[in-house]
Symmetry: C2
């Protein structure tokens, strides 16, 4: 068993995953953590405090997941793993919640920037693994593409979403490789 504060954070993250930002309320989180809302405010005085702490946890989790994705498996399977992660709607709800919070709260904006910077840095490693130039623009491209694919899949919930996501990823990586080959004919 963990300490109370950690339990609350895990409950908050779970609510965000399942119900999205609109469901991120103190009563629901308290209920899931097994205490009263008025007790929850002892550990996190305001909703913003709680949100910031949950965002911090979410960032660490998300970056760790990306690390596992980069380390594991061979190159041809990478896009399958990526696609699977992107169409995992619980991740997307957290991402969108953080984006919405960042839009309204400068402190959370800093956290979102940290997440973005972490993802972009790891994207560079991934591109190197795939023999693609890890330029800032290439990293930005893959990052933005990933975010867009996950948001679209969440909102449309197409039955063929995962396949369609993987196809776009494969295309993007093959385009980047093509250009790298053109730029460096020797390779």
């Amino acid at each position: 068993m963990q300490d109370r504060k950690t339990e609350i954070l895990l409950a908050g993250l779970q609510v965000l995953r399942e119900e999205g930002f609109a469901g991120f309320t103190q009563p629901r989180i308290a209920k899931r953590a097994g205490l009263r809302q008025s007790n929850l405010t002892y550990y996190f005085p305001t909703r913003a405090d709680l949100l910031a702490a949950v965002a911090r946890l979410a960032i660490d989790n998300q970056l760790a997941a990306v690390d596992r994705m980069i380390e594991g498996g061979a190159a041809p399977e990478k896009t399958s793993q990526m696609a699977k992660g992107l169409v995992h709607h619980e991740n997307t709800r957290v991402l969108m919640g953080m984006a919405q919070a960042a839009d309204q709260n400068p402190a959370l904006r800093d956290l979102f920037r940290e997440l973005a910077a972490g993802i972009i840095a790891r994207t560079g490693v991934l591109l190197e693994d795939m023999n693609v130039a890890p330029s800032e623009t290439n990293c930005d491209l893959i990052h933005a593409l990933s975010v867009g694919l996950s948001v679209i899949d969440l909102a449309t919930a197409r039955p063929d979403g995962e396949l369609r996501t993987k196809t776009v990823l494969d295309t993007a990586f093959s385009l980047l490789k093509l250009r790298t080959a053109n730029d460096n004919p020797a390779i």
Copy 2:
């Protein structure tokens, strides 16, 4: 002056633009439209009714804006226009609100799909204008990239966001052109 219902819809869309989905409440919309919340429910009995009607308006507006973007200006300026549209945070708030609503409400999911299909179809026209194959995957790629770029710019609010967005767009289009050239060396 327009009729009451239209005024309410415009007020609702404006609130969504400025405050995002979290601010989309009947009291705020009623206040902006100049009537009481309890009166607003006469025109739109439930919040969901109002949201669906505002989403319908937002879709029509957004697709019209894309049409103007496609029609206007020469090819080299297209990405500048696109980037400017994507970093317009009011648009992004509407998009994210619709995505969030679609995640929780099947009726709104259908509307979001309609928006996505409309954007994708228009992307095909844009790609043809640029001498790029308007395949489903290429359209999906540009669509997802656009969504991702706009969400990231909203959440990070980087000072160089518009430039960075434009750079990624330029790269994406040039990659697609490169492949089209490789596929069809005669061109």
